[in-house]
């Protein structure tokens, strides 16, 4: 099998989607002539031309909104938000306009668009370029949100998102772009939106993660004495209640591993649902491993501590499994 950079999976998904469907277009800053700030759109301009691969001025509101209008009028725009934070100047167009278009027209107008963005911490980009921010989108009626975790899920989710008849946000952990991985492209491969995947079966606890945290979860599971089941959430909204509930009903323990401060993390929604639906089948309280309630620090030493690593996750899960009590996060006492 060929080793590829994960960013190549983005590129390949976009390239194939454009080749397969002439209505797919792309918009974003420096995605065309320059091949993208993260080189995930390299060659698309040459392959598909300037009418379909469009460099925009620095004006997120304009091109996010243009995507809405273009989607209604028969195109399938894929918008790149270089860093997900940038949609903070244009959120209205996605959550208020795109997400209500179908509703306000009783199904006659729809916005099959994708916002893809690099997201997440770990590389020293500082607190305004390192967040996940899925909570800005998650739960908005009419909108879907997913997070990629490796080459395969990048390809599978992006292709599905672009084919989806409704607006979808795809968050791509920036830190993964430059990772290499064995992966064989299959042009027909898709990951259905709304489905999670058990990436490592286990009996003692269900560990949920998404994005860059999936590999942390897998590492933690690999080095755990307990037999941990790791689930890649893949889609955060609407999320896969069935897979999660089924897993928890088997393992009796639930841990979420979230790259977000607790107040914004997706785990709240999942844990609360499990608490309601699987009440009684839990052997231990559910436990959320989150970021501390603080902005992302720059200094490498601090950012390394700020993000949960495998050792910490292992330790937290072990504590839960062995005591059936939720351990305290390291930062609770530091605060």
């Amino acid at each position: 099998m060929a080793k590829i950079w994960i960013r190549q999976a983005v590129l390949r998904a976009l390239d194939d989607a454009m080749a397969d469907d002439p209505s797919v277009i792309m918009m974003g800053e420096d995605i065309a002539a320059a091949g993208g700030p993260f080189k995930v759109t390299e060659g698309l301009l040459a392959a598909h031309g300037p009418k379909r691969v469009i460099d925009t001025p620095i004006s997120e509101m304009a091109f996010m909104g243009a995507a809405v209008g273009a989607a209604v009028c028969g195109l399938k725009p894929v918008v790149e938000m270089m860093f997900i934070e940038f949609i903070g100047v244009a959120l209205d167009q996605l959550t208020t306009q795109a997400a209500t278009m179908r509703y306000l027209s009783r199904g006659r107008l729809t916005t099959p668009l994708v916002v893809r963005a690099s997201a997440g911490a770990g590389q020293g980009f500082g607190c305004q370029h390192s967040q996940m921010l899925d909570h800005w989108f998650r739960g908005t009626p009419g909108l879907k949100v997913c997070v990629t975790s490796n080459a395969r899920t990048t390809y599978g989710l992006l292709r599905s998102a672009i084919e989806d008849p409704d607006p979808v946000v795809v968050l791509e952990p920036r830190i993964l772009y430059a990772e290499r991985e064995e992966y064989e492209f299959d042009r027909t491969y898709r990951i259905p939106l709304g489905k999670a995947e058990i990436v490592k079966p286990g009996k003692d606890a269900t560990l949920l993660a998404c994005g860059a945290m999936v590999r942390v979860a897998l590492e933690a599971a690999a080095s755990s004495k307990a037999d941990i089941e790791v689930i890649d959430m893949l889609t955060l909204w609407p999320w896969d209640r069935e897979t999660v509930l089924e897993s928890v009903s088997r393992t009796g323990r639930l841990v979420t591993l979230e790259e977000a401060p607790a107040g914004t993390g997706w785990g709240a929604e999942v844990v609360s649902t499990v608490a309601v639906e699987a009440f009684g089948s839990l052997k231990a309280p559910p436990h959320r491993i989150t970021l501390p309630d603080a902005p992302v620090p720059y200094s490498g030493k601090l950012e390394a501590r700020y993000l949960p690593n495998a050792a910490y996750v292992t330790e937290q899960v072990a504590a839960l499994v062995s005591t059936n009590k939720a351990p305290t996060p390291w930062w609770r006492n530091a605060a």
């Binding site: 009418k51 091109f63 909104g65 243009a66 809405v68 009028c73 509703y103 027209s105 009783r106 199904g107």
Partner: protein
């Protein structure tokens, strides 16, 4: 030519080629808005509603200058534009009364009128939101090889929001077939333009984007149509966007609860002397298209039609409860009813 309540939006739009129908439509807009005001008082309307009486020439002037498959985005102050573009009085009144005959089936309300068949996107309740969307429609038109244009209608106050700037710049650099129409009615809510905007004419801002900016007498439907024709033709030729500023006035306050006491004495009166319906009626009289008592007759006719439409609305039920969940996403019960613009 008389358009009955049962005519389709598309038929109503086609009818607008007729000059007498243009006058009639302006009267209809005025009439429908008067009726809406009454319906509000009668308790049939919820939330708020924004009248555009005095601005009818802009609506009709625009509608007659573009085709039904050109795209229009506009704002909560959209009754006039919706009617001009072809939405039926029952469609507008029905939406405002939250009934199934409403153009959005009662889901949207006064601020969210829509009719894909005549190119009307859901009117947006967020200032500036329609401008980028129009850019996108224009982009799609071009990408799909049509010569369709998009028209973004917004107010003078909206020319101060970021989306205005970004959209004009984006459209200019992309040479998009879009016409930006600013309805300068001198007020944004309760604030006069001079208190929010350091220039008198929004059109001067076109220079920031190297695009033509025109200032138009918005009380004269012919002048509106003329200016639109130039901008639309330019867009269709692929030469890019224009900014067209319509000088106009709303007779009422900003919304139903606003008595508009902030207006300087005499201002309203001066504008009433340049009423768009009267101006156009005089023109048609001069053109011998309208008889001496033609205007009164038209008004009576229209009023009757609007009453009929109102009766139809009030007879129409509120939506089924299931509608709440039927159009959220493709998975919803409403299923796929997608309108295909510029099919084939």
């Amino acid at each position: 030519m008389t358009i009955s309540n049962s005519d389709s939006p598309l038929a109503r739009r086609e009818a607008l080629h007729d000059r007498l129908e243009q006058l009639r439509r302006m009267i209809e807009i005025r009439s429908v808005e008067e009726r809406i005001q009454k319906l509000f008082a009668e308790g049939h309307v919820r939330g708020s509603t924004h009248l555009a009486n005095g601005q009818e020439a802009v609506s009709v002037g625009i509608a007659r200058s573009i085709d039904p498959d050109d795209i229009v985005t506009c704002t909560y102050r959209g009754h006039g534009h919706a009617l001009a573009l072809g939405v039926t009085p029952a469609g507008v009144i029905g939406e405002i009364c939250g009934r199934v005959v409403g153009c959005a089936g009662g889901l949207g309300g006064s601020m969210h009128l829509v009719e894909p068949a005549v190119g009307l996107m859901p009117t947006a309740a967020i200032i500036g939101a329609g401008l980028p969307i129009a850019c996108g429609a224009a982009l799609a038109a071009r990408a799909r090889g049509t010569d369709r244009v998009a028209v973004a209608i917004f107010g003078d106050g909206s020319a101060n929001i970021g989306a205005f700037h970004e959209s004009l710049n984006f459209a200019a650099i992309q040479k998009l077939p879009v016409v930006f129409v600013c309805e300068n009615n001198l007020y944004g809510e309760y604030t006069r333009i001079n208190l929010s905007t350091p220039v008198d004419d929004i059109a001067v801002r076109a220079a920031s984007y190297n695009m033509p900016g025109a200032i138009v007498d918005g009380q004269d439907a012919d002048k509106v149509a003329e200016a639109m024709a130039i901008a639309v033709a330019r867009a269709r030729r692929g030469e890019g966007p224009s900014l067209v500023e319509m000088k106009t006035y709303r007779y009422s306050g900003h919304s139903r609860s606003d008595p508009a006491t902030y207006r300087p004495a005499g201002e309203l009166d001066a504008w009433l002397k340049r009423d768009p319906i009267n101006i156009f009626a005089e023109r048609l009289t001069a053109e011998k298209l309208l008889e001496a008592d033609g205007l009164d007759q038209l008004k009576a006719e229209v009023r009757e039609a609007v009453e009929k439409a109102t009766a139809e609305v009030l007879d129409s039920p509120a939506p089924e409860l299931g509608e709440i969940m039927s159009h959220v996403g493709a998975h919803s019960a409403g299923g796929d009813r997608r309108h295909h613009f510029w099919a084939n």
